[in-house]
Symmetry: C2
Subunit: 230 residues, 2 copies
DNA sequence: GAAATTTATATCGTATACGATATCTGGAGT
DNA sequence: ACTCCAGATATCGTATACGATATAAATTTC
């Protein structure tokens, strides 16, 4: 039987490897937009920040490279990945397809509890002031609606796409006061789920994502034509 | 001006890092099914095979982990990822959606040259005996049809899904003599593109992928209920 | 004074080295 | 003979060390 001391020590034992810890933390920083696109990620600097050597840092960066969040430049280091407007447009189109599918499969199956949980996320979302909390609540609202589909891989793929574009969505949202369409669209989507209407849930979800995508692309094209963003 | 000797030396200089070279080679071995699911990937062994140290090997494995081809077991090493029948089913469903979309967008735009190229891949495919060459030609046939869509990200996502299930598709195909439906379906798809019919191209492509998925899942369920596959 | 070349410096990519963890082997105890 | 524990062995995960490459600075050349 393990002693109390051993249990306490086990608590201190990292369940995650150093490499995984660095990867998780960096991933969040990139998705949240704390690290701007194109930012050079110096390995020694990151290693010092996490009190580890470069080895786990490089492993973490390789992991994020495969996930599309980081780009390696041979002998020049890793940078936060940049997406063109066209690429973002494609990602949003794919998201629209997959999320519409998830909504269609989930709507007829969803439980009252899940709907209530989604409604709570939505209420909190509507009140949340800062863009950081907003991103998480938006994801929680949508993913809560999708779980009844019983398609974990589909949701994981959606999440992966979400991670790639999230920082751009937030940049737009922090510029757009009031979120004109978002609130109404969310309410309509939730209502479709309440009615257990698969067609409405799918189509409203598709339109919601495509609408966000269109706003995003026009904002980016506008922004980059002016600012001369590298 | 660089001397001839320097240019020759530059030829020998690896355009790829050791880590990327290992990743590419391992990825191909896994996708092609040379390394069976669950196989332990010993770092020292792989390092010796490539005449490098463990560091680039681990970076390569981390990259493949993020791509879903490898799974790390803490302090026990990396294994070739295994997929359940349900997971394969989900991946094939998503492929069906994305490939139908690519076909729909591409069909009205496709050039005669692209169609001829696809036809050549198809002819070679029909004659190819071994399953190894088959996989590449199948991909070439389909991807050639999709390129006119002008959606590189969509195609990359399809390819990523393809990589995850390809080894299972091949295992089935090597068991199935003659490929009953595949040849006819391919011919029908190509014909839809010849007619520049987006609806037919999309629906036939969707059915083709879903058909392959259904065969795959029933084969796997059958196989695993008998053999007691770990 | 500007362009080109050399030197210096910083950072990367990888080999080596070593402690930590898991698995294997053999013996003690029942 | 079987279980349980201890030591040995193998493999992993990471720190340290160092050659290679790119960028910046200094120097030379025209």
């Amino acid at each position: 039987m393990p002693s109390l001391l051993e249990l306490v020590a086990a608590q201190k034992m990292p369940r995650l490897s150093a490499s995984d810890h660095v990867a998780q933390t960096l991933k969040k920083a990139i998705v949240d937009g704390l690290l701007p696109a194109g930012e050079l990620l110096r390995q020694d600097e990151i290693a010092a920040h996490f009190h580890v050597s470069k080895i786990p840092v490089r492993e973490a960066l390789k992991h994020l490279e495969a996930k599309g969040l980081v780009t390696f430049l041979r002998n020049r280091g890793a940078v936060v990945a940049s997406l063109s407007a066209a690429e973002i447009d494609e990602y949003m189109e794919i998201r629209a397809m997959l999320e519409a599918r998830a909504a269609r499969l989930s709507a007829p199956q969803i439980s009252d509890q899940a709907i209530e949980q989604a409604r709570r996320h939505l209420d909190e979302f509507d009140q949340a002031g800062n863009a950081g909390r907003w991103g998480e609540l938006n994801w929680l609202f949508h993913s809560t609606l999708y779980t009844a589909a019983g398609k974990p891989i589909l949701i994981a793929e959606i999440r992966s796409l979400y991670n790639k574009v999230e920082r751009y969505v937030r940049a737009l949202l922090s510029m757009t006061p009031g979120m004109p369409n978002t609130l109404r669209e969310h309410a309509e989507i939730l209502d479709a789920f309440v009615r257990r209407d698969p067609d409405a849930a799918a189509e409203l979800t598709r339109a919601h994502v495509l609408d966000a995508g269109a706003s995003l692309v026009s904002y980016l094209i506008d922004q980059r034509s002016k600012g001369g963003n590298p």
